[in-house]
C-alpha cells in the first residue's frame, strides 16, 4: 500500500499542477494575439535586451523562415560546442587536465546534447573539463528543450489558426519564463536534499578500513534541475541518477519524476486552452496516463518477479531483482523511474536498464518505439498530435466521415507528410540495428550474449531515434562506428519530424475553417481517446513486434520457461 502511494503521489500532484501550469504556458506563448503575458513587467525588458544585443527582430515568421531560424541556430550551436570539446585540453577551467575529445566522440556528444538526446559515449567523471560541462553541456541542456518548446508552440498556434510567431521570441521566452526559473527553485531544493554544489575538486578521504578514497563532487544540483526538467537526461556522473549524489533519497527521486513530466504532461492542457478545445486536451492527457499506468504495472511486476537464474543457485527466493538497483529505492520506484524516463524521453536512470528483467526492458523499449506516451518537451506533444491526426484519418475513412481536426480538413497533402514522418522512426531504428547486427563493427560492442545482445543494439538506436538518451549501458559504444551512426540517427530523428510538423501546421493554417456538422467526428469524447490508444498500439505493434520478439520476448522465454 505504501509502495503504491509512493508511485501514486507524484502522479496525483502532476494531475493537480498540469492545468494551472498548462494555462501558464498558453499565456506566455500567446503573444501573437496582442495580450499581455505573465511576467512581462520584469522579463520583457531583459528579453528585448537579448534580442537587441543579438541584432534580431521579433516579427512573425512564415514556416520556412521559422524552420530556417531553428535549424541554423541549432546547427551553429552544434558546431561551436564541437569546437569546445575538441579544444578543451588547451582551454581554461580544466583543473584535472582532461584531454581534448576525439573527433567522432565530439561529433556524437555535440549532436547528442543539442537534440535533447544525451546519449553519453564519453566516460562520465573524466571525459569533460569543467568548461565543457558548463558552456557546452549545460548550455545545450537549456537550448535544446527551449528549441523544441518553441517549435511546439508555433505548431499549436498554426493548427489553431493563429500566426506561427517568431522563433527567437519563443526560444528566449522558453528559457527566461520556464526553464531557468524552475531550475533555480529545484536546483536549490536538490542541494538541500544532499546534492553537492561546488566548483572545488574531488575530496580525498581515508576510510574506516584505512583505504584512500577519492570522492568526486561538482555543481550537481544546478545540473540536475535542468537535466530532469528539460527531458535531457545526461548524467553529471557516469551512472546518472543512480549515483547517491545525483539522487540522494526517496524525495529527490519523487521530485525528479515530477520534473520529467512537468512540461510534457501540461502541454496537452496548454493546447486545450489555446485551441479552445479544453476537453480534447484532457482526453489526450487521460489516454497517455492510461498507457503509462499499464506500462508501469508491467514493469513493476516484472522487477518483483525476481531473477529465476539466481533462484536456481538457491538464493533470493521470492525477492525482487536487485542487481543494478540502489538500496534506497524500492524495486517499484526503480521500475517506475525506468518507465517514466523512457515515456518522457528523458534518459535519466536511477537503475541500470541493462539489468532490468526482460518484461521491464520490453516496456522501456516500447516507450521509445511508440515515442508518443508523453514524449520529450515539445517534440513529444507534436508526435501525439500526429498520432491523433492519424487516428482521425483512419477512423474517418472507416466510417465514411470527412476527417477533420480542429475544424480543418485533413487531406492527402498533410497525410503524405505525416506518413513519411511516421515511417522515419522505424526506418532509423530497424535499419541501423540491422546494419549493426550485420557488421563486425557493430557486433563487437555487444557485451551480453544471446537475445539480450540484440536488445542492447535495438535499445541504442531506439534511444537515439527517440532522442531519449538512456542505454543498455553494457554496450561498448565509444567507437567510431557507434559514434557516427547514432550521431546521424539523433540528428535526423530530431529535426526531420520538427520540420514535417511545421509543414503540417502551415498547410492547415492556409485552409478555411469549416463549421461543425452532424457528419463531423467528435475528437473531444472518450471514444476518441480510445481510438488514439488503439491507433498508437496497432501502428506500433505492426512495426516493432518482430524486433521485440527476437529481443526481450525471447529472453523472457529462455529465462522463465
Amino acid at each position: 500500500m505504501v509502495t503504491f502511494l509512493s508511485l501514486a503521489v507524484p502522479v496525483i500532484l502532476l494531475l493537480l499542477i498540469a492545468k494551472p501550469f498548462g494555462h501558464y504556458l498558453a499565456n506566455i506563448f500567446d503573444y501573437e494575439s496582442g495580450k499581455r503575458s505573465i511576467g512581462d513587467k520584469w522579463l520583457l525588458p531583459f528579453e528585448k535586451l537579448v534580442i537587441n544585443i543579438s541584432g534580431l527582430h521579433t516579427k512573425t515568421q512564415n514556416w520556412k523562415q521559422y524552420l530556417f531560424a531553428l535549424m541554423a541556430t541549432n546547427t551553429l550551436m552544434i558546431a561551436i560546442v564541437y569546437l569546445i570539446f575538441r579544444l578543451q585540453g588547451v582551454l581554461p577551467l580544466n583543473p584535472e587536465g582532461v584531454a581534448s575529445m576525439e573527433a567522432s566522440l565530439a561529433f556524437n556528444t555535440a549532436i547528442s546534447f543539442m537534440t535533447n538526446t544525451n546519449l553519453q559515449h564519453y566516460s562520465g567523471e573524466s571525459g569533460l573539463s569543467y568548461l565543457s560541462q558548463m558552456i557546452g553541456i549545460l548550455f545545450m541542456m537549456f537550448a535544446a528543450p527551449a528549441t523544441a518548446l518553441a517549435v511546439c508552440m508555433a505548431f499549436i498556434r498554426g493548427i489553431t489558426g493563429k500566426k506561427l510567431g517568431n522563433f527567437f521570441v519563443d526560444f528566449i521566452r522558453s528559457i527566461t519564463r520556464v526553464l531557468l526559473p524552475i531550475s533555480i527553485v529545484f536546483g536549490l531544493a536538490f542541494v538541500a536534499l544532499g546534492m553537492p554544489q561546488t566548483l572545488g575538486g574531488p575530496v580525498t578521504v581515508e576510510t574506516l578500513e584505512g583505504d584512500v578514497q577519492e570522492i568526486a563532487v561538482g555543481p550537481v544540483g544546478s545540473f540536475l534541475a535542468i537535466k530532469q526538467l528539460g527531458n535531457n537526461g545526461g548524467g553529471y556522473f557516469g551512472v546518472n541518477s543512480s549515483h547517491p549524489f545525483e539522487n540522494p533519497d526517496g524525495i529527490s527521486n519523487m521530485l525528479q519524476i515530477i520534473l520529467m513530466f512537468l512540461i510534457t504532461a501540461s502541454l496537452p492542457l496548454a493546447y486545450g486552452k489555446m485551441s479552445g478545445n479544453v476537453k480534447q486536451g484532457w482526453i489526450l492527457c487521460a489516454a497517455m496516463w492510461l498507457m503509462f499506468a499499464s506500462f508501469s504495472a508491467v514493469a513493476v511486476s516484472g522487477e518483483y518477479s525476481g531473477n529465476p537464474a539466481m533462484e536456481q543457485l538457491g538464493i533470493g527466493a521470492g525477492q525482487a531483482s536487485m542487481e543494478g538497483k540502489e538500496a534506497r529505492f524500492t524495486p517499484a520506484e526503480s521500475a517506475f523511474y525506468a518507465v517514466t524516463t523512457t515515456a518522457t524521453e528523458t534518459g535519466a536512470v536511477n537503475n541500470m536498464h541493462d539489468t532490468l528483467t526482460p518484461l521491464s526492458g520490453l516496456v522501456t523499449l516500447a516507450n521509445m518505439m511508440l515515442n508518443t506516451v508523453f514524449g520529450g518537451v515539445g517534440a513529444g506533444f507534436m508526435n501525439v498530435i500526429m498520432y491523433a491526426m492519424i487516428a482521425v484519418f483512419l477512423t474517418g475513412l472507416m466510417i465514411g466521415r470527412t476527417p477533420e481536426f480542429l475544424g480543418k480538413k485533413l487531406e492527402s497533402s498533410e497525410m503524405k507528410i505525416i506518413s513519411v514522418t511516421l515511417l522515419l522512426h522505424p526506418l532509423l531504428i530497424l535499419g541501423f540495428s540491422a546494419l549493426a547486427l550485420a557488421t563486425d563493427m557493430g557486433n563487437a560492442s555487444i557485451t551480453n550474449e544471446g537475445f539480450h545482445g540484440i536488445s542492447q543494439v535495438i535499445y541504442e538506436y531506439s534511444s537515439a531515434a527517440a532522442n531519449n538518451g538512456s542505454g543498455f549501458e553494457g554496450l561498448d559504444d565509444d567507437t567510431p562506428f557507434w559514434n557516427v551512426t547514432t550521431g546521424i540517427v539523433m540528428y535526423i530523428g530530431r529535426f526531420l519530424p520538427l520540420a514535417a510538423m511545421l509543414a503540417v501546421a502551415h498547410s492547415l493554417l492556409r485552409k478555411k475553417r469549416i463549421p461543425e456538422s452532424s457528419g463531423t467526428m467528435r475528437t473531444d469524447e472518450p471514444i476518441f481517446g480510445g481510438l488514439f490508444i488503439m491507433c498508437t498500439l496497432i501502428v506500433g505493434a505492426l512495426t516493432f513486434l518482430p524486433a521485440l520478439v527476437i529481443g526481450p520476448v525471447a529472453e523472457w522465454v529462455t529465462l522463465y520457461l
Binding site: L180, L188, L208, Q319
Partner: protein, 193 residues
Amino acid sequence: MKKLDVPMLSLFRLSFVIMLLCGLLYPLAMTAVAQATMKEKANGSMIYDEDGQAIGSEFIGQSFRQPGFFHGRVSSIVYDGGNSGSENYAPGNLELLDRVNQSLYEWVNINEEIPVAEVPIDLLTNSASGLDPHISPEAAKIQIPRISAERNIDEETLTKLVEKHTEGRNLGIFGTERVNVLQLNLALLEFIE
C-alpha cells in the same frame, strides 16, 4: 539569406548570450547561493573525525572487507568514489552467476552458521552506482552473529544498534527502510570505545 531574414552574425551573438546566461551565470550564481546558505551539503556532506580529518561522505559507500565490520553491497569498482559504475549484467548473463557464486563462497567463509538461502538479495547483487551507501535492515541484521563473535558484543546490543540506525521511508512514503553502512560501522566503533 535575405529572404530567410536571419543574419548569421546575429545567430552567433544569440548563442553566446545564451551560453553566458545558462552555461556560466546560472551555475555560478547557484553555487554562490548554495555555498552561502548550505555549505556543508554543497560540499558533499562529509563526515569528519575528532581531528577534523574527513573520513568519508554520508552519501558515498565505503568498501568493508574485515569480518568485524558490517558489509555493504557488491561493488565492481570497489567503491572508487572518483568513478561510478557497475557491470550491466543482464539477468541471464553467466558472468553474473559466476560473480554471485563467488560472493556466496565468501559469505560461507565468514558466516558459516547462516544458510545462504536466508541471505537478503541486496548483499549478493551489485548496486547500480557501485557506491551504494545503504543496505536493507534485514541485510544488516543477518550479519549480527558474525559481528557479535568477532567483537565480543552480545547480539541484543547489536540489534538495538542496527535498529537505532535504521532510517525509515522519507515522509513515511518514499524510498525504502535502510541502514547507512558507514554510519552503522562508525557507531559500532564508538560503542566499543
